[in-house]
Symmetry: C2
Subunit: 466 residues, 2 copies
């Protein structure tokens, strides 16, 4: 007789934690640092705060591979009533919006808390204060795995005399420091490259990396966007319709609904579309049945006259900041950066940025060194499964005067309200055709500038020789 | 002001469905067929039933890409009180055990139901009867996404006059048949290869594939196993301890606990381990505190005298059946198969099986054709990220008298209670060192036999020439 049962989300990810990057003590330590740092950068730069991030790994018990990871930031903190769920409930967070951020799943820090809890039994220790808060709140939190709920082991508050705001998270876990320290250091270094406005200090046994910001200029924070008609489906329509507060008493018309709920849809566009699609613009949306929603969704996707998705939910680095970061970290002889115009796939806006760095301290290699980023997150694993590697390998570099082995590094950065990550561990990006095309065009644009530089250099060499 | 919220599991996978393989209408149609077929094969062969599987794709509305997918099996059916959750609740199923099966996540069919529902609005239609059931139960089910609960649109029962048992699932979805039909046909063909005891009929617009079983011999169904001490952690210990019915009234001793709850631990082994680890074998387990569990988990993982995990939860194909299936499908001149002895990683038993097929109808290729399987599931995507591709590419085939281009196909099959899939879409397997080593050894063992065959063939050719 078969036994049937359900799992809570925490139980599911406890059992399948390798899918989220927690496969062994080496990878888990790396992922823990990553999840905390990405949360801290979101909590600062997305709110106009120049980030000061402090990362510390300590060996608590080297014989047993027990380490402590602490990450502290000067960000917006976590409200005390939200802290337990934010740290103790899988699928809980503040980033479920159409707005570029590093976090997207509401899962990351919970995986780290889970892993620490199952390897050492220790709770997550948090201190946090929101801007202007009178108090600093401290919590020790475990996860009740079978119920997917936080267990508040202890909590207290102290007067916030220094008017601090930010979050300090500490986890004690079984982690293989010697196995992961190089990757962690590389991750921190690349984070500094893509966030040259951040102060980042990283201390670990035998390692100290201090990156001081090379600019006080923050990129424009992204604004929360609305869904685009090209990305619609029946369930989204149902959710948007039920989202209206006075749906029963005062339901909007179909035309009002489109203008209110969707990106880049004005009254004229909405009317034109509805006439083309065969709908009465004045029908009240509470009167629509499933077959109407199915036809509406299908027609919205088919229609080709929509304005393209707006890029206000995106926050690219921009060519200046990207060049600054790449110059500072790679110490190359030549750097050029390209930020493409906004594009979109399936209704999601995206921007591709690419930098090429040549010479200087870059060593010659048989294939270009590839540094991948998505929503300002450095991606260090699964390169073979990533669309950027595929594009870089298909470029005919000879056409750009680059002969292998060559001291060439390619930096790719994809910003989107929906980066097509292949897994919840956020390591590789799927080869969505629109994105692949944009990466290729961006690289070629940058490569043409590199070619001009290398031709000029070649001529100067010829002159010297003569 | 930040907005914090939680998502239900259904909501999470609705938003991130590409991570489960439902990225576009082409891939989603493939994945839908896959999820249903894998469920049907689990429902038959794991219970000693020779599978009769019928798969049908129909074009409902070609202009709108609307297709219907139906899969019917003669398996153990679904009890009527379980059907709504089984088809309508993410993270619900009967395969959350230590036992080899295709299903592992309790997610697959729900993804297909979700995708159909969001693209056409249509519910999943199910007919099912368990063996000896007096009735056949029919359901139409949708998923309440925000609550992760089934919505029973309709249900009825009819007398089971023909004493049928099995399940018939039909979904209506937006799917790109012309884009995915070749992959689906390949998937069905490879399923027939790895399950040569199954009758499989596949009908679609312009396609009919009928695979008749070439043997009536089913592999031994797997038995549910217990966790192994090498795979333990604090949370698992807590779960096992709280699993005891009379924990308060009559708690077992630590020694009894180890013998009862763990694989391959007898009384003597348990006692020896506890003395080595520094525990009193007679302490009652309800007296253990977190710090004791932390020490116990750590010592269990460190101890090297455990018996290796038993392979009774596994169900490999075996060399005879594997050779039969490969011969039948690839029509090669030479086939050899190797089923390795059981091995383990992190406390999980696994068995690697490999077949090499050479010549006959196999076309010469620059690199060997690779057909990957895991728990009898054909894996057709993400080959570049899979451990088997890595191993096959690192073999020096010249040593085995194979010069490229060569008509060589490598079939790899990994069976485990925990296949280290890289994602919930089950396409690529991570390069866990123990598994990588076993695949390499299996291929080399088979390659030595291929070499003998090719040498013999070479000599015969030389004799002919003379
Ligand atoms: N350092 C921090 N400062 C402020 N808020 C934080 C911080 N760390 C986490 N949070 C809050 O906790 C929530 C949950 O974090 P978590 O890492 O689990 O998910 P996420 O960042 O939203 O998405 P992802 O799973 O992709 O990382 C965040 O959305 C954010 O609201
Ligand atoms: N054709 C079928 N016959 C009998 N039981 C079935 C059938 N299809 C599904 N089930 C039951 O429904 C459950 C849920 O199926 P689902 O595909 O969602 O998850 P799973 O197969 O357990 O795991 P996975 O997500 O890896 O596929 C199964 O565990 C099984 O108990
Ligand atoms: Mg996060
Ligand atoms: Mg399944």
């Amino acid at each position: 007789l078969e036994e049937y049962k359900g799992l809570s989300p925490a139980e599911f990810f406890y059992r399948n934690r390798e899918i989220a990057g927690f496969s062994n003590p080496t990878r888990a330590l790396y992922q823990t640092v990553r999840e905390l740092v990405e949360n801290s950068l979101d909590a600062t730069e997305m709110f106009g705060i120049l980030p000061d991030i402090y990362v510390e790994v300590e060996e608590i018990n080297p014989k047993e591979n027990v380490v402590s990871v602490r990450v502290r930031d000067n960000g917006i903190g976590v409200p005390p009533e939200e802290a337990p769920n934010v740290f103790g409930r899988v699928f809980y967070g503040s980033k479920y919006k159409l707005r570029q951020s590093r976090g997207i799943f509401g899962l990351g820090v919970k995986m780290a808390v889970l892993y620490a809890q199952m390897t050492t039994g220790k709770p997550c220790e948090i201190r946090t204060a929101t801007p202007k808060s009178d108090y600093i709140y401290s919590f020790k939190i475990l996860i009740d795995i079978s119920k997917n709920k936080p267990i508040i082991v202890s909590k207290r508050k102290e007067k916030n005399t220094k008017r601090w705001h930010g979050t300090d998270v500490r986890l004690i876990l079984e982690g293989n420091w010697s196995g992961s320290k190089n990757r962690i250091a590389e991750y921190i270094k690349r984070t500094a490259m893509i966030a040259p406005y951040a102060n980042i200090t990283f201390r670990g046994p035998g390692v100290e990396l201090i990156f001081k910001r090379v600019t006080k200029k923050l990129p424009e924070p992204p604004e929360t966007g609305k869904p685009h008609p090209k990305g619609v489906d029946i369930e989204l329509l149902k959710q948007l319709i039920s989202g209206f507060k006075n749906l029963k008493e005062d339901p909007p018309t179909l035309q009002e609904f489109l203008v209110t709920c969707f990106d880049s849809v004005g009254t004229i566009t909405a009317r034109r579309f509805l006439e083309w699609a065969g709908f009465d613009p004045n029908v009240r949306i509470d009167k629509l049945r499933i077959r109407d929603l199915e036809k509406l969704a299908r027609r919205m996707k088919e229609y080709n006259e929509w304005r393209r998705p707006r890029a206000t939910p995106l926050s690219p680095l921009g060519e200046d900041l990207l060049m600054k970061g790449v110059k500072e970290i790679l110490k190359a002889e030549f750097v050029t950066a390209v930020t493409r115009k906004p594009a979109s796939y399936g209704g999601h806006p995206f921007i591709v940025e690419v930098a090429l760095a040549w010479g200087g301290e870059i060593k010659p290699m048989e294939r270009p060194l590839l540094l991948r980023f998505a929503n300002k997150i450095p991606l260090l694993y699964d390169e073979g499964a990533d669309v950027s590697r595929k594009v870089v390998d298909n470029i005919d570099w000879n056409q750009y005067k680059v002969k292998m082995p060559a001291p060439l590094a390619v930096v790719t950065h994809i910003c989107s309200t929906k980066v097509p990550f292949k897994g919840v561990g956020k390591e590789a990006i799927a080869d969505v055709p629109e994105i692949e095309k944009e990466i290729e065009n961006a690289i070629k644009e940058a490569a043409r500038r590199l070619r001009r530089y290398l031709s000029k250099k070649e001529k100067e060499m010829e002159v010297k020789v003569k």
